[in-house]
């Protein structure tokens, strides 16, 4: 029963499915057994070095190339049996060299596919206006020619041209490779917005890992025609499948990514020294001496963090108090073991704590982060590139709370 239900769900879920896709050129396999299911609204990046088969794979989807074997289904229909011309009119297509027709106005360029689909002139004009609005260019640009636009503007038009006939699937072949970094970034934001806001499904070929990490919901890493890894950007950063993927990501990026994907639990020391509140100050002092620490964390019998006691407090109250409970500080700064290092490092450092206890979901003490372990993290983060500091400045953290004073603790 459950299996049937699952199958059915899968049927509606899969938008584009490629199975055992291969392409052979003169005995050499350019694409070898490619398998991928794409859900509607996904942003898939194919990444790989040149000759990895990423563009070849993409071009088989709209039959610009015919596969040597395997199957492609788009919305449940066999692409390989479809009329290639009709198929291509349903699929948006953006290429690296922009490919705007130099002898057509922007209006005519945008409405090429609607015209092929024989839309009425009014409808075409209306669509051209919508599209020019979408790229935030003035309407009178519709009557200009491509040569009168900047490269970035041209590629924006190239992108909306691929949407003008309501295509749900858009193929992009290194569309921003030839643009300067600033223009590229704004276009990346633009296409990401298209995917998120309009729910378009994108297959995006790139050789730029930054671009893939920024845009993709899933990344397909390819090498010599084979799929090496299919995973979300976070998964790829955390667990690169092999050395090839690691190299593709680059050492710098892996290090830089570390603070943003490493959790506190991964770097803490597990051997936090703790004591229960019922113990005497003498016992506490002895423990400090044994473990050679100046602070003890106080937990109850269940291991729940209650506070801390340091050598100063013990020294000051040694003659007047008897148990740890009498002198401990109940207000303690702690972090959750699942919080991300990037979000916590700055907080910890700014507050000037020497040690910060780490707790799990139930506030049970699980470890401790010392300044030494933080130094390692910060060192790694800064080591890669000089601008890594900007990278660590992100929105403030919510995982860290300061425990409210319970009862009337001594100063």
């Amino acid at each position: 029963m459950e299996l049937v239900a699952l199958k059915r769900m899968e049927l509606t879920y899969v938008f584009l499915e490629m199975k055992h896709l291969s392409k052979v050129y003169g005995g050499k396999k350019a694409v070898d057994d490619f398998n991928l299911s794409v859900a509607k609204g996904e942003f898939i990046c194919f990444i790989g070095t040149s000759g990895s088969g990423k563009t070849t794979t993409m071009r088989m989807i709209n039959r610009m190339l015919n596969p040597s074997s395997g199957s492609i289904e788009l919305e449940g229909e066999d692409v390989l049996k479809a009329d290639p011309v009709k198929l291509r009119r349903k699929i948006g297509y953006v290429i690296q060299n922009i490919g705007l027709m130099p002898h057509m106005t922007i209006r005519d360029n945008i409405t090429i596919v609607p015209k092929l689909l024989k839309w009425s002139e009014d409808k075409r004009n209306e669509r051209a206006k919508e599209m020019i609005k979408m790229v935030e260019l003035p309407e009178d640009y519709l009557d200009r020619y491509p040569s009168e636009l900047s490269g970035g503007q041209q590629q924006r038009i190239g992108v909306v041209r691929a949407l003008a006939a309501d295509q749900d699937l858009i193929l992009m072949d290194e569309p921003f490779g030839a643009l300067d970094p600033i223009t590229r970034e704004s276009l990346q934001d633009f296409v990401k917005d298209l995917q998120e806001r309009l729910g378009k499904t994108l297959i995006f070929v790139t050789h730029d890992m930054d671009e893939a990490l920024k845009l993709a919901t899933r990344i397909v890493v390819m090498s010599h025609g084979k799929m090496v890894q299919v995973a979300t950007p976070d998964e790829i950063l955390q667990h690169p499948a092999n050395e090839f993927v690691e190299n593709l990501i680059g050492k710098d990026r892996l290090i830089q990514a570390k603070p943003s994907i490493t959790t506190v639990g991964q770097v803490m020391y597990n051997n936090a020294v703790s004591i229960t509140p019922g113990r005497s100050l003498k016992e506490a002092l002895k423990l400090m001496h044994e473990k050679r620490v100046d602070t003890l964390l106080v937990t109850d019998d269940m291991g729940i963090l209650k506070g801390y006691v340091d050598i100063e407090q013990i020294d000051y109250n040694y003659n007047t108090a008897t148990s740890v409970d009498d002198v401990m500080t109940r207000k303690v700064f702690y972090v959750n073991e699942n919080s991300i290092i990037r979000d916590t490092v700055e907080r910890i450092l700014k507050r000037g704590y020497k040690n910060v206890p780490v707790v799990d979901q139930d506030k049970k003490l699980v470890g401790i982060v010392t300044r030494a372990s933080l130094v390692d993290i910060v060192y790694d983060a800064l080591w890669g590139e000089p601008d890594a500091t900007a990278h660590t400045k992100k929105e403030p953290v919510t995982d860290i709370k300061e425990e409210q004073k319970v009862g009337d603790g001594k100063p």
């Binding site: 060299n97 027709m101 130099p102 002898h103 092929l116």
Partner: protein, 212 residues
């Protein structure tokens, strides 16, 4: 010169008309056949080298010999001349059409195909408009050749300005030679200029400002 025009004026006009008529038909046929053939060749990569080779060989046959070769088939007069000149006009137009279409930015052809244009739509909407300057320069070259060689057609009784020139040569009359060859030169220049105008007209605009 005035006396020359007074004496031969009517005849000159008639010969000019014959000249235009013969070269015009030959060239028009050449365009009608060579442009579509050139387009077809871009879709038949293998056949293209063979056919362009054949056209090149035809081009190497001396003009007079080709004209003479037409006599057993078509007899004498305007028709064999038109056929021979048509064969001559083919190569430059064919080659330029082929090269012009092949020279269109591959990414434009890729975009056209990728957006769902049929091969014919791609040719008509994208490739031919982009190739107009190259194709037109082939036509202009052919036109100049054909007008010049039409003068030879008088040898096989086709008429035209060649009659003046050959009469002048036979009679050793410089005025007749010049009276025939100067109009040929002027005609070639005029046609080239007119075709140049046509080329500008046919070349699609790529900016919204008028070109100077």
């Amino acid at each position: 010169m005035i006396t020359f025009i007074q004496t031969y004026g009517g005849q000159l006009l008639y010969k000019i008309w014959q000249h235009i008529y013969i070269s015009g038909i030959a060239l028009a046929l050449g365009v009608l056949i060579a442009v579509p053939l050139g387009v077809m060749l871009t879709r038949l990569k293998k056949a293209s080298t063979v056919i362009i080779e054949i056209a090149s060989v035809l081009q190497t046959i001396p003009a007079l010999a080709l004209l003479a070769m037409m006599i057993p088939i078509f007899g004498i007069g305007a028709i064999p001349a038109i056929v021979a000149l048509f064969i001559y006009s083919l190569l430059p137009i064919l080659r330029n059409t082929y090269l012009g279409l092949n020279g269109v930015d591959p990414s434009l052809k890729d975009a056209a195909k990728g957006m769902g244009m049929t091969s014919l739509q791609s040719i008509i909407k994208v490739e031919l408009p982009m190739a107009v300057p190259v194709i037109m320069s082939g036509i202009r070259l052919s036109a100049t050749y054909v007008i010049a060689w039409t003068a030879l057609a008088s040898y096989i009784g086709a008429g035209g300005l060649g009659d003046f020139i050959f009469n002048g040569l036979n009679l050793y009359r410089t005025d007749l030679i010049l009276g025939g060859s100067i109009p040929v030169i002027l005609l070639a220049l005029l046609v080239d200029w007119l075709l140049g105008k046509l080329e500008v007209q046919l070349t699609p605009k790529t900016t919204s400002h008028a070109k100077l």
